[in-house]
């Protein structure tokens, strides 16, 4: 019997990486997928990776998706790890979603409103029937004739409510420097700025499930979609040498403002309250989930009974980041020989004690 301590970790890793590369390439008789194709044709996947990777760059997100074989959490991780090495040159000015070039804008609380309902590119009213025509390659789509952009103003729905004093003020101070989750450790109690930052990059499935749970009674806050808007906004920054803002580019954003019931408290009369969601790219599911959870986490602030998971700020923020979550869950694959060995010794000792005690009892009973 010969035992050789397991060696060869180095070779094993190299071989594994090699295998992975082959698996990624897939059937070589098929053309290799290009990152430009991913960026242009898998836009929703790219949007999710940018949001969770917390970095707006469709080309890099497309590369990450290709490298991760379409595993979007792995792709977000690649993007996040790349982002962390980038120097930070400057802060942008707050983006003005009021001035968004709208692709889509809907409200569920007013049938019609200034600026109108703009349906835009949505899956909402498609029939979920597999379209086998898509399976055929080189399917041509005739381009839509372009409509002239509407010049009508599209005021926020919450602003309409605010005119009547029916909704709480947005409560966002533009003076205070917001927290910075990228640079500073999350600390509790966490204020709303940091909470929203955390949710904006949180796992879509987690936000969806938590938002859903509030609808099912775990922290219900009676939400209405005040407004969802999707479109392009300009990103501006003020170079110190110029002293005035210049536009450095545009990004696609999805914004959701929930309007929630509120019965009033000792200090506040009854009025509607707000839940807010904002994310990179086009993802209404993410923005809505975020808005529901944002409102749920305000329970304590609004004097509500905070008992549900979605209302527990520490619980939500500590678990919404899927890069952290996937790392820690998957680290269970790492060796734990040493800890397990300690547990083996402990359980053997405890079993020996227990067996001895039983034997002693049996012996006593036999004597008796």
């Amino acid at each position: 019997m010969a035992y050789v301590a397991v060696k060869g970790g180095e070779r094993a890793i190299d071989a594994a990486h090699d295998w992975l590369a082959r698996a990624r390439r897939g059937d070589r008789s098929l053309p290799e997928i290009g990152t430009a194709q991913i960026a242009s044709q898998l836009g929703r996947a790219v949007d999710r990776v940018m949001a969770e990777g917390s970095c707006y760059d469709p080309d890099l997100a497309a590369l990450a998706i290709k490298q991760a074989q379409g595993d979007l959490i792995e792709a977000a991780f690649l993007l996040r790890a790349y982002r962390t090495t980038l120097p930070r040159f400057a802060h942008s000015e707050p983006v003005e979603t009021d001035a968004m070039l709208l692709r889509r804008r809907i409200s569920a609380i007013y049938k019609d409103l200034p600026g109108g309902q703009v349906l835009g590119p949505t899956y909402d009213y498609t029939h979920r029937l597999l379209d086998f025509a898509l399976a055929a390659e080189s399917l041509e789509v005739t381009p839509l004739p372009l409509a002239a952009a509407s010049s009508e103003d599209t005021p926020r729905v919450t602003a309409l409510l605010d005119q009547e004093g029916l909704i709480e003020p947005s409560g966002v101070s533009t003076e205070a420097e917001p927290g910075d989750l990228t640079r500073d450790a999350l600390a509790f109690p966490a204020e709303r700025d940091v909470r929203l930052q955390s949710l904006a990059r949180g796992d879509e499935g987690f936000l969806l499930a938590l938002g859903y749970s509030t609808q099912r009674g775990y922290g219900n806050n009676h939400p209405f979609v005040g407004e969802i808007r999707v479109g392009e906004v300009a990103v501006e920054l003020v170079p110190p040498e110029l002293g005035f803002p210049i536009t450095i580019g545009t990004i696609t954003l999805t914004e959701c403002e929930m309007v929630n019931q509120f019965s009033g408290s000792k200090t506040e009369p009854p009025q509607f309250t707000r839940g807010y969601g904002l994310c990179f790219g086009h993802s209404e599911r993410r923005a809505m989930g975020m808005a529901l959870v944002d409102r749920a986490m305000r329970a304590e602030e609004l004097g509500e009974n905070a008992t549900a998971p979605a209302q527990d700020i520490e619980f939500v923020l500590s678990h919404c980041d899927n890069i952290e979550a996937t790392g820690f869950v998957e680290h269970l694959k790492l060796p734990h020989y040493v800890d397990f060995q300690s547990e083996l010794e402990t359980i053997r000792r405890m079993r020996a004690t227990a067996t001895a005690a039983t034997a002693a009892t049996v012996a006593t009973e036999t004597e008796a």
């Binding site: 991780f77 450790a185 520490e314 890069i323 790492l334 800890d339 010794e345």
Partner: protein, 283 residues
């Protein structure tokens, strides 16, 4: 490696981490929050330790990385390679030759010296987490040194099992002030922390905390006067080098209950084996 700074992290980030380390050294056992970065390795796989190591490495350092005591486990290989690649520094598997040792779950058997630094990878830095979920509350408990709850847990263990059943990640008091998680090292290793000559640094990446034990600091496992701390080790001798003083891994040899016990510290074991061979050759 082109395109990246020495040891991966940019210098600003390293300075931020070093400030956290300095604060941690100044307040032994206290968890210092830091702006932890995403690393190219997953959370839970040593990102905290890697950030600490990256922040303290210099070009002349010699790095050793172990996981479960071994230099050749895949994760140890992966991290060692990461620094060989991004910092171009020398690496070693010999404890005595290393200036920085990054570890997961073990402390080397060979005593560490004053000119060495050991960096622990920490999954859950909060020793009270299992008893109190809220970090806002545990922070207050640390601030006020209210650790009675931890003793309640030990009391419950003795009441139920007749002894304290914690076999790894055994809670310790550092410098008589802060309750600290030693990371999931076996209780066998805990006494090595007490008044260690080397600086001990702890990095928790996911939880974004750094803490430290300066050289020659008191580290006492929590216990009762009449149920003192005791360590657990398989009673066997190492099947390869015959050591009776080292922590052992249990290796399953067959499906009929065959077991072999070998040193978990591969460097220690190899050193003893070669010494034996030399003696045999001499004899």
């Amino acid at each position: 490696m082109s395109g990246y700074n020495f040891a991966y992290l940019d210098e600003q980030t390293k300075r931020m981490i070093r400030r956290a380390i300095l604060k941690a050294v100044a307040i032994p056992g206290h968890q210092v929050p830091f702006g932890g970065r995403e690393m190219p390795l997953p959370y839970g796989w040593g990102t905290g330790g890697i950030q600490v190591t990256a922040a303290i490495l210099g070009p002349s350092d010699v790095l050793k990385v172990i996981d479960q005591g071994a230099d050749d486990t895949t994760n140890a290989v992966s991290i060692r390679r990461f620094f060989a690649r991004t910092a171009g520094i020398e690496t070693t598997t010999h404890t005595a030759d290393a200036s920085v040792i990054q570890t997961r779950h073990r402390i080397p058997e060979t005593p560490l010296r004053a000119d060495q630094i050991i960096v622990y990878q920490v999954p859950l830095p909060e020793p009270l987490a299992k008893l109190e979920q809220s970090r806002a509350e545990t922070r207050q408990m640390h601030a006020l040194a209210e650790y009675g709850l931890m003793h309640v847990k030990l009391y419950e263990d003795i009441a139920r099992y007749g002894h304290i059943s914690i076999s790894y990640d055994y809670p310790v008091m550092v410098n008589g002030r802060y309750l600290m998680s030693p990371s999931p090292i076996p209780a066998f290793d805990t006494p090595k922390m007490h008044r260690m000559a080397a600086l001990q640094l702890f990095g928790a990446g996911r939880e974004k905390r750094i803490y430290a034990i300066p050289p020659h600091t008191d580290v006492k496992p929590l216990d009762f006067d009449d149920h003192p701390f005791r360590l657990t080790r398989a009673p066997q001798a190492c099947g390869l080098c015959g050591a009776r003083d080292s922590y052992l891994d249990e290796v399953v040899m067959d499906d009929r209950g065959g077991r072999l016990f070998v040193c978990s510290d591969t460097d220690y074991c190899a050193g003893r084996q070669s010494m034996r061979q030399d003696e045999d050759a001499a004899a």
